[in-house]
């Protein structure tokens, strides 16, 4: 079985750097442009790509990613279309980790089992659902397991440490996505002061690698975070580049 996510973190560690996890809303401005952007970001050194599935009601997202989702929906981009794009991308990028990043309803609507099969067929390594906490993820994780597709848990600023441990239980070839701030996705001028302490605490108990996301938009912020984490996630800053017609890159 492929272990691209675990391998990506191991490779980054061996190179004494944090793994670069990049998020893109697929379909904004067009699906073809998103696929090209994935190529570009991988060329820039991204280790893992989160393929964002547009959803009509993105209640956990900030303005930039919401606008991108609405734009993608106008283009008619659905979960199916994102999986088809993933399959094309997989053929070009055999080693990059691919994560489907979605709200649960598009996945539930397709049916967890049908989705799991399609995700495996597209070469997806793991799935992250914004609105599927530990209490509710069983239905999806059980569907993903037989297909060798993993799940990425979110860890919030107010997630107790015991819950961190419960969140990674049973998961392989994944990472803990640590949300840096309470709030929606989007750029922040400064990351919270207690972030380093929290990341250290999580890492001291975590079996899976730890990547921090939400609000990271500059190289300096990424470097700062990686002193206390195994990787970093950049989303809004990249989506903004695409919306503005620039090549995706960190500020």
């Amino acid at each position: 079985m492929q272990r691209r996510i675990a391998d990506a973190f191991a490779k980054a560690k061996a190179e004494n750097r944090g793994a670069f996890v990049a998020y893109l809303t697929m379909g904004c401005p067009t699906l073809a442009a998103s696929e090209k952007a994935v190529d570009d970001i991988i060329a820039q050194g991204a280790d893992i790509i989160e393929l964002g599935v547009p959803f009509s009601d993105p209640f956990a997202d900030g303005g930039v990613i919401r606008s991108a989702a609405y734009e993608a929906l106008k283009q008619g981009v659905s979960l199916k279309a994102v999986l088809a794009a993933a399959k094309r991308l997989r053929a070009k990028h055999p080693e990059t980790g691919f994560v489907i990043f979605s709200y649960y309803n598009p996945i539930f609507s397709m049916g967890p089992n049908a989705f799991a099969g399609a995700a495996a067929d597209a070469g997806i390594d793991a799935v992250l659902c914004v609105d599927l906490p530990l209490e509710e993820r069983g239905e999806l994780v059980e569907a993903l397991n037989p297909h060798g597709v993993s799940y990425v848990p979110l860890i919030a600023p107010n997630t107790p440490i015991e819950r961190v441990k419960a969140s990674e239980e049973g998961l392989e070839n994944s990472f803990l996505y640590v949300i840096t701030v309470k709030g929606t996705t989007g750029e922040r001028k400064a990351l919270p002061e207690d972030l380093a302490t929290r990341l250290d605490a999580i890492r001291s108990v975590a079996r899976l690698p730890v990547a921090a996301g939400f609000g990271i938009s500059t190289r300096a912020q990424a470097d700062e975070v990686c002193r206390h984490a195994d990787g970093y996630v950049v989303g809004t800053a990249l989506v903004k580049c695409l919306v503005e017609g620039r090549p995706p890159c960190l500020g």
Binding site: F55, S56, D57, P58, F59, A60, G62, R66, Y70, L73, S78, L79, K80, Y103, Y104, N105, P106, I107, F108, S109, M110, V130, D131, L132, P133, L134, E135, E136, P153, L154, I155, A156, P157, N158, T159, P160, R163, I179, K182, G183, T184
Partner: protein
Amino acid sequence: MKTHYGAYGGQYVAETLMAPLKELEAAYEAAKADPDFMREFGEILRDYVGRETPITVARRLSEHLGGATIVLKREDLNHTGAHKVNNTIGQALLARRMGKKRLIAETGAGMHGVATATVAALLGMPCEVYMGAIDVERQSPNVERMKMLGAKVHAVTEGSATLKDAMNEALRDWVTNCDDTFYVIGTVAGPAPYPEMVRDFQSVIGREARRQCLEKFGRLPDEAIACVGGGSNAMGLFAGFIDDASVKLVGVEAGGKGISTGEHAASINGGRLGVLHGAKTMLLQTGDGNIIDTYSVSAGLDYPGVGPEHCHLHDTGRAEYTVITDDEAIAAFDALCRYEGIIPALESSHALAEAIKRAPGLPKNAILLVNLSGRGDKDMENARRYKDAKKNS
């Protein structure tokens, strides 16, 4: 605490909201068991809201229809003009007890927003209300009321610019400010414990109505009928009769221009199982799992989901769920104005329309209890415009 109702309900929220939900669950359990909390809640309902609300026999309307007796539970007579305030008082007292400093709410027709702004003023708490921009326009009197009461109203222009988008924005506020902010959800939807908590706070409707029917008629009603958007007034009414097998429970969804047109807000009758705003429930959605814009002449029923417990009651057959179109609701609105001198909310007019449909086929001694969940002052302009448009078409 119960988090699921059969296949429905749950806590489908961002991880950041799990801790606040657990905090809320614990606080609500403790408050429910605290006689002082329940006493204060009851006192405010009595002395401030004006409970209990009466039941009124719609005598002329019933005679005109020539069948069952239609009886109205007068939630329109509550302070603020709808049942919504029962719930906002409960939640705001809980917020104060939890040490929260700020109330936020979503609103569709504006009644829940007004009820939240009202209790915020009563308890001296700042309040911000999210309302779809389309609703801001079609329910402008309620926007003025909220502002007058000191609340800040945010018009949400995204998506379909109605209730679901207002709820999205309220959730974004809550996930950002959950340490000091209490999210007052207006209906029996959302993640657990909201469906149960809101039902409990609204159950005063059904408890009163049951006792009042026994006092007035010496027996229970044959049917208890209420409109269902998210479904809080219906759950409140049903709660009083759920164990009375002889009482039919009837929820009435907004059929808009008719289910077959696709322009409606009937989630149970026209939707498919899905996950939105924290719960697994029946949803109006596309084949790809995106949420569809709903339509109803009544802003308060214009929501693509429905409370999870209603879906469960539908599955078990304990309650039945029907559909009333805009035309039928408007006709019922007119009928109540003309026959009884009561201007009902367009939401409640859906429940009334169902009773008007059923009454002629039933014997005179049959009792149809209709929850008149709100008054219609806010709807007069809409009703007039709707009728003008019909005349001209």
